[in-house]
Amino acid sequence: MLKYNILIGGEAGQGMDTLAVLLEKILKRQGYYVFSNKDYMSRIRGGHNFIQLRFGTETIVSHHPVLDVMIALDQRTIETHIDRLQEKGIIICDDSLQSEDTRVISMALKETAKGIGNIKVFGSIAIGAVMKLFGLTINQVEEVFKEKFDGETSMVNIAAFQKGYELVESYFQIDSPAEDNHILINSNQAIALGALAAGVSFYAGYPMTPATSIMTYLSEKQEDAGIVVEQVEDEISAINMAIGASYAGARAMTGTSGGGFSLMVEALGLAGITETPLVVANIQRPGPATGLPTRTEQSDLSFVLTASHGEIPRMVIAVRNPEDAFYQTARALNLADKYQMLVILLGDQFLSDAMETIEPFDFGRIAINRYLAGKEVVTEDEYIRYQLTENGLSPRIIPGKNEGQIVLVDSDEHNEYGHITEAAEIRSNMMEKRMKRMVYLKKEILEPNYYGVKHPEVLLLGWGSMDGPLKEAIELLQKDGIGAGALAFGDLYPLPTKLLDKYSSSALKIINVEQNYTGQLAKLIRQETGIVCHNSILKYDGRQMSGYEIYLRLKGEVL
């Protein structure tokens, strides 16, 4: 299958986002598979940003360094990326930009746009040209423009598109796609949609890149869905408010990035000791501290495994792609309710901005299970919030519903009624009650995705957003005849170990592939299983490894 890779680059504020949205939507509507990712700076205007957009007739799960087409909105784009342009690639840019390169198609984009009546539409000319270069039809173009812009604006843009389409000749070959039956979505949107599907009715948060878009999406839908999304004064408030809402019986959630998560740490323990269901999404970016706000990293795993003083049960799930993000969010919410506990979802900037064409979500697969106690608890007796039971779970009711029954929860150690206690025996019982969940969770955890041969000699280990790149890397390795396999973990804690045991036994080399410095998955695996990785492929410069990059580094550094 042929896949093509287009880069759109320029300064913040030049409208690359809009161009990319238009182009990827048209391609998607025409039936192509699309995968796009964003590389942008922490500023609103100026600097250098770019979007990479891959498309083809089969599923695409990773970005790729080699470019076929570049739409350069400024000089810097050409200079920065020209080395990555394939020999027969094309650069489309305004004729005001300078380049001796023969691959440049320099067009009077801005002049032409002015002629059409609005200089702002020059980008649409470029899109038109690109579509033509690939010999694509203009199917869906009008629809997409009309959805994106108001009446008149859409007309000028369509005219601009057509102009661009006319100005060049078709150049690349591409198969015609099947009919479009996909959605195009990123993982943050999928988390938000998963939360909506699973009945989240309260979300409290504080803006922080790259987590903000979860909240923005939910906020947009709040009236339509009848939910409340509250932007609070700080992340401490966000998590405590969500815990309050959850105690009261709403399905509540919060989300942030590493810095905000750090501020939430104390309250994780509050959810733990009060046995309040809570899902917290940490959409990672490179730390420490403010770090690189708009870039990507997977460096909060070690942290979230033990974040908060003292000891609480917790589950940690990394989302791997938009599809996973949707179903895992719903699952996390159900597990939080089932075990009256904390579930942490890990995403990252790469996933939060990477758009992928996937199967539409099956809402029939989602169930909303609240596990609230039924009428057997609603007696005339006092309600006992922390009743000691066999499995550590106490029947849960919510306050205000049963006359004569009250619900008392406490951040201090407490007895079965929720009252402060300092008794040694009760304390021990309560610790055991809470921590027992970790045993039950072992039955809930899902094994990692496996890609590769049955008995891999080279076993790659990764998690979260490494899923797609690992899959692509394995395909490349297999083409080279290397007996490779990769495990891509979603559930991380408790750590599922069956497939790990299975595939690691045959492997001569086990290599963790992570977007961090210390090899956090490898550490976790060593701690939990004693399995030691022989090599590591690590990256911590804020840019996501592609499948191709993993493949190259493996061959260069390890194999």
Binding site: I183, L184, I185, Q189, L193, L196, A198, G199, S201, F202, A204, K221, A225, G226, I227, V228, E230, V232, E233, D234, I236, S237, A238, N240, M241, A242, I243, G244, A245, S246, Y247, A248, G249, A250, A252, E266, A267, L270, A330, P360, F361, F363, G364, I366, I368, I398, P399, G400, K401, N402, E403, G404, Q405, I406, L408, D410, S411, D412, H419, I420
Partner: protein, 285 residues
């Protein structure tokens, strides 16, 4: 009026003999009884401190959270279930110190909760360090040469934030306290009530007598709706301390501003199936 003993709870009370908190607890029960709020309809939220132990001593729903963090969960509870009467009881350190940011923005959020601060002008539970309301210069177990920080005036602060109900009462006058509690709970919007409460162990300056000698009661003549006058009134201290409603303003509460919530069911009772969200998928088609 409901029976007061409905609110009784037989947990051992861990406050010191003679503590002002002992007067606040029955006042709350009395106010709840008079407002005919049944135990299951009420939630008392608190942080950590001596005052914050109150949820354990009364038979209503209780959320005894983290130090300084009473306001956010209380807000979350009320937003989730607007049918509940949500009250905060916490200390001056908890409410004004560690929790200062939540108070400030909680007032701006104007969720309909009533916040009673047991203001003993000291950190009681941790053994007598200065709190934000400890007088500048006062010697404490931590500030041996006297507190360097300027004394916080919580009422002036609340007025500056246009808090919808701002009042002061005194644990030493049950009748006044009950009546202020009732007015505060009946008020729609964020209500802050600073309750002067002697700590007999760690605050030897602001004793029962010290307060008693200084407090006076605002009368009919005082207009609590004038914000500037309220600010001026809130500055009185030291020699004469006004008790009563300092400031009051009518405006939409948080929930009023969300029409589908104000007019509809609580979030807790929202009817929703996964398929109801399917329509949102069109954004990604």
């Amino acid at each position: 009026m409901l029976e007061i003993k409905m609110y009784d709870f037989n947990d051992e009370i861990a406050w010191c003999p003679g503590c002002g908190n002992y007067s606040i607890l029955p006042a709350l029960k009395e106010a709840l009884a008079e407002l005919e709020l049944k135990p299951h309809q009420v939630v008392v939220a608190s942080g950590i401190g001596q005052a914050a132990k109150l949820p354990h001593y009364i038979n209503v729903n209780g959320f005894n959270g983290l130090h300084g963090r009473a306001v956010p969960p209380a807000s979350g509870i009320k937003i989730a279930n607007k049918d509940l009467k949500v009250i905060i009881h916490s200390g001056d350190g908890d409410s004004y110190g560690e929790g200062g940011n939540h108070l400030m923005h909680g007032i701006r959020r104007n969720v309909d909760i009533t916040h009673f601060v047991h203001d003993n002008q000291i950190y009681g539970l941790t053994k007598g360090q200065g709190s934000p309301t400890t007088a500048q210069g006062q010697k404490t177990t931590m500030q041996l040469d006297g507190v360097r920080m300027e004394t916080l005036n919580p009422l002036a602060l609340a007025v500056s934030l246009d808090c919808s109900f701002v009042a002061r009462s005194f644990s030493g006058n049950r009748k006044h306290l009950v009546s202020i509690m009732k007015e505060a709970m009946n008020h729609k919007g964020y209500a802050l009530v600073d309750i002067l409460q002697p700590c007999v162990i760690f605050n030897q300056v602001n004793t029962f007598k010290w307060y008693k000698d200084r407090v006076y009661y605002l009368d009919e003549g005082y207009d609590p709706t004038d914000r500037v006058a309220a600010f001026q009134k809130s500055l009185e201290w030291e020699t004469s301390i006004p008790l009563g409603i300092i400031y009051k303003t009518e405006k939409p509460s948080y929930i009023d501003k969300i029409s589908y919530l104000a007019g509809g069911s609580t979030l807790v009772d929202r009817q929703w199936q996964p398929e109801d969200a399917e329509k949102f998928m069109k954004d990604f088609m």
